[in-house]
């Protein structure tokens, strides 16, 4: 591939025009090829002027709160990094300079504060982790017998659904999660999901879930099944097992 081809590929990647084979090719190059990354970066910066022509839209607190609760679902940063790189064999002049440097001491002071915060956050993380050992885990399998989502229930009655791989929810639809507290009874809805990411489900009003309990996901209208029973196709299902 000539450099001109690569440049065209980089530009069309940034424009979002690539499809099929070429799209995969650009993604591979972007992950592995420094020269291609530089071409992409150049086009991003050339086109970035367009971003400044978009109208600002008010960003409310509701969206921020959703982002914050999304952060909770991500693992906390466990790694505490040294605030300043270790300086070995520093000359006395440099040390003297550091000693006299206000910004150095500011950094150290800040780093101390940050370390204390991280420690506090870390303690919270481990305390939280202890209560986050799941009680039951169900791997929901798709029609093609591929794992499509993992459902976990916790001792405090909460449950989480994590979609796997490239689960796609059809446009203008949701997926609805159902379970069968009574194997012979009707399914009960435990959540309507509009976006493929980890979500909390509501199992609070149900009897304590048990191992072998069946969970299933059907495709429904955006706001969930209008009838209270699955109306769309069941796209995946699985039974719960005890987590050890």
């Amino acid at each position: 591939m000539t450099r001109d081809d690569q440049d065209r590929l980089a530009a069309e990647h940034v424009l979002g025009l690539l499809e099929g084979e070429e799209r995969g090719q650009a993604e591979r190059l972007l992950a592995s090829d420094g020269a291609f990354q530089a071409l992409v970066e150049q086009w991003r910066s050339r086109f970035s002027e367009w971003d400044n022509t978009a109208d600002d839209a008010p960003a409310g607190d509701a969206l921020w709160q959703r982002i914050e609760s999304g952060l909770e679902a991500q693992p906390a940063r466990a790694e505490v990094r040294p605030a300043t790189p270790a300086r070995q064999g520093a000359s006395p002049g440099l040390l003297q300079g550091l000693w006299d440097s206000l910004s150095f001491w500011r950094t150290v002071g800040m780093a101390g504060a940050v370390a204390a915060l991280l420690l506090a956050a870390g303690l919270g993380f481990f305390a939280m982790k202890a209560s986050r050992q799941p009680v039951l885990v169900a791997v929901l399998m798709s029609e093609a017998n591929q794992p499509g989502a993992v459902l976990r229930t916790f001792a405090d009655g909460r449950a989480e659904l994590t979609p796997l791989g490239d689960m796609q929810i059809p446009h203008n639809h949701s997926i609805q999660v159902w379970t069968f507290p009574d194997p012979a009874g009707a399914p009960v809805s435990v959540g309507v999901v509009q976006t493929a990411r980890t979500v909390l489900l509501n199992l609070q009003n149900l009897p304590q879930p048990h191992s072998d309990q069946l969970f299933a996901i059907s495709v429904e209208p955006l706001t969930g099944s209008p009838t209270g029973q699955p109306t769309g196709p069941v796209v995946m299902k699985g039974t719960a097992s005890t987590a050890l």
């Binding site: 065209r8 530009a11 970066e41 991003r44 367009w50 022509t53 109208d55 960003a59 976006t195």
Partner: protein, 188 residues
Amino acid sequence: MKALPGEVIPSAFDLNHALRGCARGDRLALRAIYDSEAPRMIGVAMRLLRRRALAEEAVHDTFLQLWKKADSFDPARGDARSWLYAILRNRALNILRGETRTDLVEDFEPMGLVSEEENAEAVMMRLSDTGSLKRCLERLEPARRQAITLAYIHGLSHGELAGRLGVPLGTIKSWIRRSLISLRECMA
């Protein structure tokens, strides 16, 4: 935006600094990015996705990725803002491609072709006179300029551009390619 060491950019929000804060797990730094960038980010995502709810979805996901990846951002390899908007565009384009595209097109179909055309020209008029993009776009023929503008800001595919501008697919592809060569030379 390139700052020499020691150079002070007056009153500019320091995204690099905030990203370092995020890499340390500082939520206030993330909030500062939100306050400073989210309105523009929603605007950019709205142009691609048309609907507020989808745009917010893209911005939401971008902030989660930003939080996760902040420590891998390397200022030596690129501009922080362009990194942030690359994540956003990527996410928005993925949402756009994942959806049934005809559904999304319906929303702006009533506006018709004319207002779309004006739109691309209006967008060009809003580009900064000090940047080179405007000057270099002005050197392209209006229809080609429109094609590349619509591709970037609305995320239209080759096929959608062909339909919208009423020219064959092959023509669109070659317009885009030639426009890119011209832009690269002009903006070098």
